[in-house]
Structure formats: C-alpha cells, structure tokens
C-alpha cells in the first residue's frame, strides 16, 4: 500500500501529528475557564500522547518499510491543500516524514508527553483558568514544533518556525504580572524575529536562485521551495550550474538561513534571549531546551544539508559560530548561582557543539547529540524543577539559588539519582549517552577536511571543543555538588522533600534514556559490531547529503572520513579524560559544598574572569548600549524632529500658516470702510503709474540691414501707447509721408531704402484720448546710414 495515501477521517495521517496538539490547544484556550483542571490536562496530555503513538506507528511501520526498501530518503509526503498560489509560485501545505523528521517527531512527542505529565504536578497550584491556559500554550508549542519538523517546504517550515517563537513569548511571559518576565518573553520573540528576518531572506535567495530552473514537469507543478525538489541532485546540469555552481549564492543563502537558526538555537550573537527565558515555568524551560524551539535551528541546518554541502564557506561560518558559542557559554556558566541559569548556559554551549557538528558536515552527529541532549537536558530541567519545587515546600522564596542548597541528596533521592545520571551524560562520561554523541562530534571535527578549508581548521575546532567539554564537565558538576552534596546551607533546604510521582516518573524515564541512548551511535570500527550500534547513521543516511557538492565534477567527495581504530580510541580516550578531569576538579572545589579555596580564587587571581562570567561577558549591557538605546533614541528622534517638527510643524502647518497670513492681511484690507477703499484705489493707481512706464516719452529706434532702414516706433506704455495714431516723416522734408497708394505712413514698423532716408526723421504720436500730438525728431547719423 502506498504510504502517501494513509488517511484518518479524510485527512492525511501526517497532518494529524501536529493537528492533535493544535486541537488540544484550541480546546484548552477556548473552553479553559469552564473546565476543571483534570479535564484540561487530560485533553492536553491525551493530544500529545496520541500524536506520539501516531508518530511511533508511522515511523515503525510505513516509514520502516520504505527504509528497508531503500527509499527512506524519499520518505512519505502528504499534501493537504495548496496554501498559496500566485502565477507560477505555489506553496503546498504539505508534510514530509523521512528518516530525519522521524527522529525529530519521536523526540518532540515523547519528551513533550513526559513534560506534559510532569507539568500536572508542577503547576497544580495555578488557578483553573491559568492552568488551562498553560496546557493550551504547551500544546500549541508542541504543535508548532511538529509543523516545523514535518514541513515539506520552507514556507510551511516558517509557520512552525514563527509559531514556536510566539509560544516562547507566551510561555516565558506566562506569569505576565511580573514585568520582568513579560519583558523576557518579548525579548525572546523580538530576538527570534531578527533571526526569522534572515530566514526569510535566505528563503528568498534560494528561490531567486532556482526559480528559472526547470525541475521537470512534475516538479514544476510543485513549486521549488520544496525540500524534495531542492535536494534532488537528479535535475540535471542546469540546476547544478545555476545554483550549486554559484558557490557565493549558496553561501549567502546558507549564511542567512543560519542566522535564522542562531535566533532559534540561541547562538552568538542572538543567544541573549535564552538565559532570560528562565522566567517561564520550569517545565517550559525543559520543553524549550530539550524538545522544541532550540533544536529547530540545528534541525533546519541538517534539513538543508544539500545547501550547506554546496558551500564550505557557509559551513565555516556555522562551525566557527558554533565553537565560539560553545566556549563563551561554557565560560558564562561558571559563575552563575541560579540553578536554571547554569542549565540555560549549558544548553547554549551544547547547541554550539551541535552546530560545530553540522558545520563540519557531520549531520548524523549533530542529530545524535540533539537527541541525547534532549534526554539529559529535559531530565536536568525537570530535575531542577523538582528541586525548586522541594525548596519552595521548604519555604524558600528564591528556590533557584544554589548557594542556599546543599545536602538535598538526603531529601530528594530520586531527583538526585536522575540528576546525577544526566550530569554524567552531559559531562561525557562513559558509558552514558553524552559520551558517545560528544565523541562523534569531536572525532568528526578532528577528521574533517572540506575543500576550501585550511588543513588545520578541523583540529582547531576539535581543540576548542575539548576546552568547552572540560568546562562543561566542571560547571555541571559544580552545580551537582552545590545542590546535592555536603550539608544543607539553609533552613529551607533542610525542609525540602521529594516531589510527587507525576514529577519523578518522567525523571526516571528520561534518565533511563539518557544512560542508554548512546548505544545507537557507536563509531565505525574495523571490528564488526551489531548493526544496532550504527542504527542512527544508517537510519539518517538517506535524508542527509553524504558528499560535498562540487560543481562541474563527476567525482563526488565524501564528507565522512574514516579514521583508524587507534585514532578513534585515542580521541575517545582524550575526551573521556577531559570529562573526568572536569568532574574531578569540581569535586575538589565543591565536593562538600564550596570550599574556602573557591572564595580565595574568586577574590584573588580569578576576580576579573569571575566578574566577566557572572555578567555573561556583558552581552546584555553591550546590546543595550549599541542597539536598544539607540533604537529608542532614533525612534523618539524621528518622531519629535522629523515627524512633528520638520514635516508637520514646518512643512504642513507652515504652509497653512502662510495661507492663513494672506487671509489675515486681506481681511484687514476688506473691512467695509469706504474711505479706506478709496484710499486703496488712489494708492493703487499711483502705484500703477509709478511702476508702469506711463510717463515715458514716445520715441523710435532704427537699424540698418541689407541696405534698408527699419524704423520701429516706441509710442509709450499702456492703453494710450497701444492705440496711439502714428505718422512718419522719413525723407526729412517736414511733412508726413504717404506710401505708394497715398495712404499715410502709420505702421509701428516702417522700412525705407538707405538712399532715400533724409538726415532727420520725425515721428508724430497722437494720444487717442487727449488728441495731443507729440513730435519726435531724430538725426540719422552717418555711421548708421
């Protein structure tokens, strides 16, 4: 049976995966105030759990069949309807389940379900209305994320992409009465929007590059922002030349999309929203950090592997930003004293690891670490929630402050064990999951050698990541020891107690996965291991691009480089040693609560780095100075200066004022007093006489050309001048002349041959009204003759 025709209730089966949580969200958000807490969370958990079951079914049955038949990369594509259509541009609302999105939907729905269950315990103190609102948002978040990962083209992905941004705004600002929390939510949305803007530009560039390329008759009808079309290398040379050949264009599109990913996945320079996102309820943090949102960027880069493998320039940007973020965030985590803040920076840092993996073309490792990280980070956040829940019960008002904790191992045994397992996993200790996934990233960075990169760049990335891994092991175990070891440092810690089963059960499940999930991604050794140990790489292989796209070459260069067993084991050994050193040094300094050495170091030689770490390298302060304040000032300035003053006051009201001025002047003149009118007439007439040349005497001018004189009368201005009667005496005999037919010579312009002109010419001008005649006589000079 064709898996693309699978339907439930007339809708494609794939559509139900995001739709179920969205329906749950709709119900909880509309009926929320009328239903009990029990029905609210039943709806929400039911929706996500059903989506999870459906996902498992779809992955385990139809997709598995396709995978075994060797068509896993094609996956299952289902179109619901045509969303946008203008001319030849067409966007289908279509979903795509291939082996890559399969991993994502399993993670999202499974961890999502656990977080929903956990939330019933964590949020039970909320009022009915906000309880339902909370679960509505949670469902909306899950649904948006599922749209994002299942999307079959970029615009549909953008729906989910922005949707998770909206949900982060709503959930981070869930306790909206606190201004700081609401601000954190807004910050998350705006920073994400900066990324989304670049995502849009990347999408446009991609379309612009490929829009004129024929993708074959079938593809032409599907529009060319579809992943299925874009990634298909079978569309011939035109396609390759126009886009994959144009490395710079691929690099530009890739970098823009990556900046979008930086927004979602909290990379430098757009990571600033994530630490503040702690304002939301703790399970939300778990959802953001593990199952949804921050994984979106990594997923997108892997999804676009076909684009990134065409541009090693874009990849060098991706891996460099990833490395810088991994290091910087690890550094910032050292001095934090808030439980959730430490975890937040660790997420930023781990995402940096994933981007280094993606940036070295190591797509499988990126997804692998994404998956293991999802388990242990969800476990850590939910564990943190459990700790804070316990501390709140103990009466603490600052439940996240780790300086007041200590000794909680006695009071919260389940939380402590699961937290410890996750800390082992994130520190990269064998045989926990984080060890394997981190090792894959490190080994990949060591071995990678893309065309166009400097030879040593892979090793540099490797070295940098080792440093970050050392930091990770240290600060995570500092956190662990501060919370659970030593003696209670406050009364509240003494009265803390274990959380209810609804909260501990998800912890246990997550810890279990955090321990064993690594075994699906063992490195390829020369000895034969059971195939399950390479399950992930063979599973993902059909969905990601295995080679560098080299234009104009037949031979394809493989991305993966196989190292010898010795190298693999040495690299793994080094990574493990680094992890152990990190944990060990944390034990020395914090094993029984913060030791006096710490204070000495912090106040002495390490004072400056400590300050820098505590203030997160002053990123917020710097952004405040260079972006936020200038933005406000410019906005204010544009309004006050340009809008109010220049345009409105000067130009608009200014011209109105000038018109008004004329109005007022003429009002003063038109005041109805006859005397003034007469005065006006007199003054006006005088002005007319003064200005016009009425007083000028009549005269005439003459000029000689071609042996002929031309006389032009200038009888004076005004009515009199125009209608004056003229007579000429040209021959100088003192009598007015006549022309050949005997008529008097009275034209304003008269001509006469030079020889016939006398020495004096006279013009008589008779005023038509007064009948007075003026005589003008001019001597015609020799030189003018």
């Amino acid at each position: 049976m064709d898996p693309s025709s699978l339907q439930i209730l007339g809708l494609p089966m794939l559509a139900w995966i995001p739709l179920l949580p969205l329906i749950g969200a709709f119900l909880n958000l509309t009926l929320g105030r009328r239903i009990s807490k029990a029905s609210a969370h039943t709806i929400a958990i039911g929706a996500v759990a059903l989506a999870c079951i459906l996902s498992i079914y779809l992955v385990a049955s139809p997709l598995w069949q396709l995978f075994k038949a060797g068509a896993g990369g094609t996956g299952i594509e289902q179109t619901i309807y045509t969303w946008i259509e203008v001319g030849s541009f067409k966007v289908q609302l279509a979903f795509r389940l291939d082996t890559l999105s399969a991993v994502m939907i399993l993670i999202v729905t499974f961890i999502g379900s656990l977080i929903h269950i956990y939330s019933t315990g964590y949020m039970h103190n909320e009022s009915d209305a906000s309880y339902a609102r909370y679960f509505g948002y949670l469902n909306l978040f899950t649904g948006s994320m599922l749209i994002l990962v299942l999307a079959a083209n970029l615009p549909v992905m953008f729906i989910g992409w922005e949707g998770v941004g909206l949900c982060s705004f709503l959930l981070i600002g869930f306790w909206y009465e606190n201004d700081a929390y609401a601000y954190a939510g807004r910050k998350a949305f705006v920073v994400n929007r900066i990324g989304d803007f670049c995502f849009l530009l990347g999408m446009f560039l991609l379309y612009w590059a490929v829009k004129d390329i024929s993708l074959g008759p079938e593809a032409a009808a599907r529009g060319s922002l579809d992943f299925a079309n874009l990634r298909n290398p079978a569309y011939g040379p035109a396609y390759a030349d126009a886009f994959w050949g144009g490395e710079r264009l691929a690099a530009a599109a890739g970098i823009f999309l990556f900046i979008g990913a930086c927004g979602k996945s909290a990379q430098i320079p757009l990571f600033v929203w994530l630490p503040d996102a702690m304002a939301g309820p703790t399970p939300v943090s778990a959802l953001i950090h593990a199952a949804t949102m921050v994984t979106a960027g990594v997923y997108m880069v892997c999804r676009m592997s076909f684009l990134y493998s065409a541009s090693t320039t874009a990849l060098i940007v991706v891996s460099t930003i990833g490395l810088i973020t991994a290091l910087a965030a690890a550094f910032m985590a050292f001095a934090q004293t808030d439980l959730k803040k430490v975890l937040a920076y660790s997420t930023v840092s781990q995402l940096g690891f994933m981007f280094v993996a993606a940036g070295t073309g190591n797509w499988v490792a990126a997804v692998f670490h994404l998956g293991t990280h999802a388990f242990f980070k969800a476990c850590l956040f939910l564990g943190a929630g459990s700790v804070m829940h316990g501390m709140e019960h103990g009466g603490s008002t600052t439940p996240g402050d780790i300086t007041t904790m200590g000794g909680l191992r006695k009071h919260m045994p389940i939380t402590r064990i699961t937290f410890m397992i996750s800390c082992l996993a994130i520190a990269g200790i064998f045989p926990f999951s984080g060890f394997f996934s981190k090792d894959e990233i490190l080994a990949g960075a060591w071995a990678v050698d893309p065309p166009g990169w400097p030879d040593w760049y892979g090793e540099l990335l490797w070295g940098g990541l080792l440093l970050a891994a050392l930091g990770t092991a240290f600060y995570m175990w500092r956190l662990y020891f501060m919370v659970f070891s030593g003696n209670e440092r406050s009364e509240e810690a003494k009265h803390a107690h274990e959380s209810p089963p609804s909260m501990t059960m998800p912890l246990v499940v997550l810890a279990l996965f955090a321990s064993i999930a690594g075994f699906i991604g063992l490195p390829h050794l020369s000895m034969k291991l059971p195939s399950i140990t390479h399950a992930l790489s063979s599973w993902l292989a059909p969905s990601v691009t295995p080679t560098w796209y080299m234009p104009n070459t037949v031979e394809q260069l493989s991305i993966a480089v196989h190292e010898s067993d010795t190298t693999i084991f040495s690299l793994a050994g080094i990574a493990l040693a680094i992890g152990v050193i990190g944990v060990g040094s944390a034990w020395v300094l914090y094993g029984r609560g913060p030791s006096p050495t710490v204070d000495k170091l912090v106040e002495g030689p390490l004072a400056k780095p400590y300050e820098a770490s505590k203030h997160k390298l002053w990123f917020d302060e710097i952004y405040d100075v260079i972006i936020v304040r200038p933005f406000r000032t410019v906005a204010r300035g544009l309004f006050e200066v340009v809008d109010r003053f220049i345009i409105d006051t000067v130009a608009v009201n200014g011209s109105a004022f000038i018109v008004g001025l004329f109005g007022r002047l003429s009002r003063w003149v038109q005041n109805g007093q006859v005397q003034r009118y007469i005065a006006g007439v007199v003054v006006g007439a005088a002005l007319v006489f003064a200005i016009s040349d009425c007083g000028r005497k009549p005269t005439f001018s003459y000029k000689l050309s071609d042996g002929e004189y031309e006389f032009t009368a200038e009888p004076g201005a005004g009515v009199g001048g125009a209608n004056a009667r003229l007579r000429w005496d040209l021959d100088g005999n003192g009598v007015a002349d006549t022309d050949a037919s005997g008529n008097p010579l009275d034209a304003p312009v008269v001509k006469l041959r030079a020889g016939e002109v006398g020495s004096h010419v006279t013009l008589w001008v008779e005023d038509p009204i007064s009948r007075k005649t003026v005589q003008v006589t001019r001597e015609i000079r020799e030189e003018e003759k």
């Binding site: 958000l29 105030r33 309807y81 045509t82 969303w83 946008i84 259509e85 203008v86 001319g87 541009f89 209305a129 615009p155 953008f158 729906i159 992409w161 922005e162 949707g163 909206l166 705004f169 600002g173 909206y176 009465e177 606190n178 201004d179 609401a182 601000y183 807004r186 949305f189 705006v190 929007r193 900066i194 989304d196 803007f197 849009l200 530009l201 446009f204 379309y207 612009w208 829009k211 004129d212 933005f631 406000r632 410019v634 906005a635 204010r636 544009l638 309004f639 006050e640 340009v642 809008d643 345009i647 409105d648 130009a651 608009v652 109105a656």
Partner: protein, 534 residues
C-alpha cells in the same frame, strides 16, 4: 449583463438607509443603530451576490452597469468590478456592520446623524471602488470626504476640529491637482478619440505624450500618495485617527487608506505608464522609508491609537512597494495585504475602542495587567496583534510575504522601460519591517495587557459584552481563514493582476509621441523602441 444591477444596488442601499434614518425621530439612538446595522448587513449580504455572477477566470470588468449620466460632458454612470476591486468591495461591506455593532455604545450624541454619515460614507467608498468613469470616481472620491469630515469634526476627541480640517485640506490639495489632471486627460482624450468621454475603459486606450504622462501621473500620485499615506505625506493620519471616534478610525484605516493603493492600480499606473516608470524609483524608495520610518515612529508613541496609526504607515508601505514591483506576486500580495490590514488594523482600532469606552484614556501608561481583568478580550486582541505582526497562518503574513518576495525577485521580470532601484535591497529592507513590527506591537501589547493590575480604575473593567464578543470572534476567525486559505482569493485576483501587468508592460513599451490611441503609431517607430518584450 447578468447581475449588473448588483453594484448600483450596493450604492443605493446605504443611501436609502441614510435617508430612512434621517426620517426617524431624534434621540432614539437604539433605533438609529438598529437601522444602521440592518442596512449595512443587508448591503453586505447583497454584496455576496457578486460571487454568484462573477466569472473567476475572466480578467476584464464584470457586472458592468452603464447608463448615460450627463450627456453634455460625456459622463456615464458606469460601474463594474474585476479581481482587483472585488474583495475591496467585500471588505467594505463586511467591515461596516461589524464596526457599527462593535461601537454600539460609543456614540450617544446625534446618533441619527452619525448613522447617516456612516452610511453615506459607505456609499461613497463603494462608489469609488466600483466606478469605471473618471467623473463618477471623482464624485465618489469627494463624497467620502464629507462624512469623514463630519465624523471627525462632530464626534471626535478634543482636538477634533484641527484634525478634521487638516484631514480635509490635506486630501483636498491632492485631489484638486488630480482634478486638473482629469481635465487635461478629458480634453486630450477627446482630441484623440473624437468624442468627449470620461469612460475609464475608453480613456485608457489613449497613450498620452511623455511629458503629459509625467505631470498627470504626478498629480494623480499626489492625491493617492496622501491617501496611502506615503512618507512624508502621512502626518494627517495620526491626527485624524487619534481624534476620530472608534468607528471613524476603523473605517479610515480599514477602507479609506486602501484608496491610495487602489487609485495607483486602477488609475495612475494604467493611464500613465510612462509617468509611473518615471516616478517609480522615487515612490519605491519612499515606500521602503515609510515601512521602516512608520515602525520606528510607532514605537515612540505613548498613545495607543497613535501607535496603531503609525503602524498603518508601515503596513501600507508594503502594499505600495508590492505594486511597484510589477510582479504578479507583489501586486496580489499588495491587494491581500490591504484586505488583511483592513481586518487587523480595523480590529486593533475596535479593540482600542473597547478599552477607551471603559477607561476613557488612550495613554499606554494608564493601562497594564488588563489580561487579568479581561482575559477573553486579551486573547482575541492578541490574535489580532499577531495577525498585524504578520505571523504565518494568520492573514497578515500572506500579504507581507508576497509583497516582499515579489519585490525581492522583481529584478528579472520588470517590463522594458520600467525599473525600481536595487529590488533585492529594497526587498531586504522592507523585510526589516518584520522585526520592527514585532517590536512596536509587542511593546504595546505588553504595556496594556501584561504587568501588574496596579491602577485602581483598571480593576473594575468588565470583559467583552456579547455584541463585542461577536464582532471580535468574527474578526479573528476571518484573520485565521485569511492566513490559512489565501488561495481561493488569490486565484480570483490572478487574472486581473496578470492583465494589469501585461497591459502595463505593453503600454510602457509604447514609443513616445503625441497623444494617440495605443498601437496606432507607425509600425517602424514602434518597432525601434519596443525591445524584446512579447
């Protein structure tokens, strides 16, 4: 033509309603409102009949109604619609009853005259959308002005007279120059055609001389750019919005502003393609400035209504750059953005009206924590805000996405002889509106709805009343539908939009010469400058 009676009927119904309501006794405000809502609802239902008679595949004018009006002038009463105007007409008839219902309690003083003004306004707007005759268009254009002037001047806020006069004079300055250009067009076309006519379809067969096109386009464009409003001709808008009563603001933002873009699409660009080509670079740059400038200035406001007013400057910038891109994507997107802007900004103003009616202030600082007190309203308002911010799956996204996309890819498809500078850069710059939109809208939302409910007077605000709930639910449903199912609308627009770009491309390639009928110049000159366009 079947169904040709519908459009004149649409114009007549609100007028009849206005006459009817003026015949009722004073002071019966609920009766007046009832008549207003009933008549505008009937108008809406009648307007739906358009779909029954509208051929979705055809690209010309449909439902054409044509009778001689002033024979001496050659003016006809000629109406008709195409894919460009059809949804704008529906938007008008759709918003009117919602506005009257949503602001039911807002106006008590002279309610009879208020309803009559609103209905006359509706007739004027519909007339301007369906007119196919320059004379009729100009009359309808001016008819809109008077009720709007009254709405602001009588039922407005404290500085209502200043705002009303500013609105009228601003608009008049533009439209008078347009009238001069209309005279020129009328006389010149008569020389060419041999008969005096104001029929748009006949006049648009005439190619005016190059210089004349530049000046006439400028005159038309000034009138339309003021309406859009295009930076820097926008300063009447914040004042008019702030002082207008809620219903006036909703209609002003929801429908009236669209006449700017519509005028460019229907009159200025088809009649004077060379003029459009001459001015397009400047207009394109001004619209992008408007997008960014409007967003910045919106952020600087402490008055909610002003903030939303400036957001219109930003949003209409998208519409403007969309039509200037001369791509089907950009133009369809622009029309779509207008429809969505009508719903979202209309909704925002209605929402502000809800707050104002309860609290009698528009200052952001006076609010805070409203969510706690009015959860239903807050939730619905959030959807409208998000629709306005262009969140995908809501209506605002489709228009923004298509206009930016259309601008971005315009470079390759521009007709010969027409260009806008650096289309990809313009596209990218307009896309920054995506960021800034989120900045000012969320800023506003947070200030009003989040935070502590610490002002005593906010503690007693009642949530939405049933009639308000109906209005907001209808609006939000429309915003969702618009975002999820844009295709049925886009498909109807498509033939007319394609015809528009096709005709424009053909006309802008017409060689320069004295006024003549298109294609009538000697073939060889035509060949020389025509270039390679099919």
């Amino acid at each position: 033509m079947p169904g040709s009676f519908i459009l004149p009927l649409l114009l007549a119904l609100p007028i009849l309603g206005a006459i009817f309501v003026m015949c009722t006794p004073k002071g019966e405000s609920s009766l007046h409102r009832g008549i207003g809502i009933a008549m505008s609802t009937i108008t809406f239902l009648v307007s739906l009949l358009i779909f029954k008679n509208f051929d979705k595949k055809a690209d010309g004018f449909q439902l054409v109604f044509d009778v001689e009006w002033i024979p001496g002038l050659g003016a006809h009463f000629k109406t008709g619609i195409d894919g460009i105007s059809i949804f704008l007409v529906i938007l008008t008839t759709f918003l009117m009853p919602l506005t009257l219902l949503g602001t039911k309690k807002a106006v008590e003083k002279h309610s009879r005259e208020f309803i009559a003004s609103m209905l006359v306004l509706e007739a004027g707007m519909l007339g301007a959308f369906v007119a196919l005759d320059l004379f009729l268009f100009y009359v309808a254009w001016e008819v809109m002005l008077i009720p709007m002037y009254l709405l602001i001047g009588i039922w407005g806020g404290q500085r209502r007279l200043y705002a009303a006069i500013k609105f009228v004079i601003y608009t008049m300055v533009g439209s008078l120059l347009m009238l001069v250009a209309i005279f020129y067009v009328y006389v010149t076309a008569a020389d060419v055609l041999g008969t005096y006519t104001t029929d748009l379809e006949k006049i648009s067969t005439v190619a005016f001389s190059y210089q004349a096109q530049i000046w006439c386009f400028a005159a038309f464009a000034l009138a339309f750019a003021i309406k859009v409003p295009l930076f820097p001709l926008h300063t009447w808008l914040p004042d008019a919005h702030v002082e207008a009563p809620t219903a006036g603001s909703v209609i002003l933002a929801g429908v009236l502003l669209k006449f700017g873009i519509y005028g460019f699409l229907r009159y200025a660009m088809p009649l004077f393609p060379h003029g459009a080509a001459y001015w397009a670079p400047a207009l394109a740059i001004l619209s992008v400035i408007g997008i960014i400038y409007g967003a910045f200035v919106a952020f600087a406001q402490d008055d909610v209504k002003k903030l939303v007013a400036y957001s219109s400057v930003s949003h209409l910038g998208f519409c403007m750059i969309g039509i200037l891109s001369m791509t089907a994507m950009g133009i369809s997107g622009s029309i779509y953005a207008m429809l969505s802007h009508g719903l979202t900004t209309g909704g925002l103003f209605l929402g502000i009206g809800v707050l104002y009616e309860r609290r009698h202030t528009r200052r952001l600082a006076e609010y805070g924590g409203i969510w706690k007190q009015m959860p239903l309203f807050s939730g619905l308002f959030l959807i409208i805000v998000m629709g306005s911010a262009g969140l995908p799956a809501l209506s605002g996204f489709i228009g923004e996405f298509l206009t930016i996309f259309g601008t971005f890819i315009a470079g390759d498809t521009l007709p010969q002889g027409y260009s806008i500078p650096m289309p990809r850069l313009l596209g990218a710059l307009s896309a920054t509106g995506v960021i800034f939109g989120a900045v000012y809208l969320l800023f506003m939302f947070q200030k009003v709805f989040f935070g502590k409910l610490d002002k005593a007077r906010n503690g007693k605000l009642p949530d939405l009343r049933p009639h308000e709930t109906i209005v907001f639910v209808i609006l939000t449903v429309a915003i969702f539908l618009g975002g999820l199912f844009p295709r049925p609308l886009l498909v109807v627009m498509e033939p007319s939009v394609q015809k528009f770009t096709r005709d424009f491309g053909r006309r802008v390639a017409e060689p320069d010469g004295p006024a003549h009928v298109y294609g009538s110049l000697p073939q060889k000159t035509a060949q020389a400058t025509k270039g390679g366009r099919p």
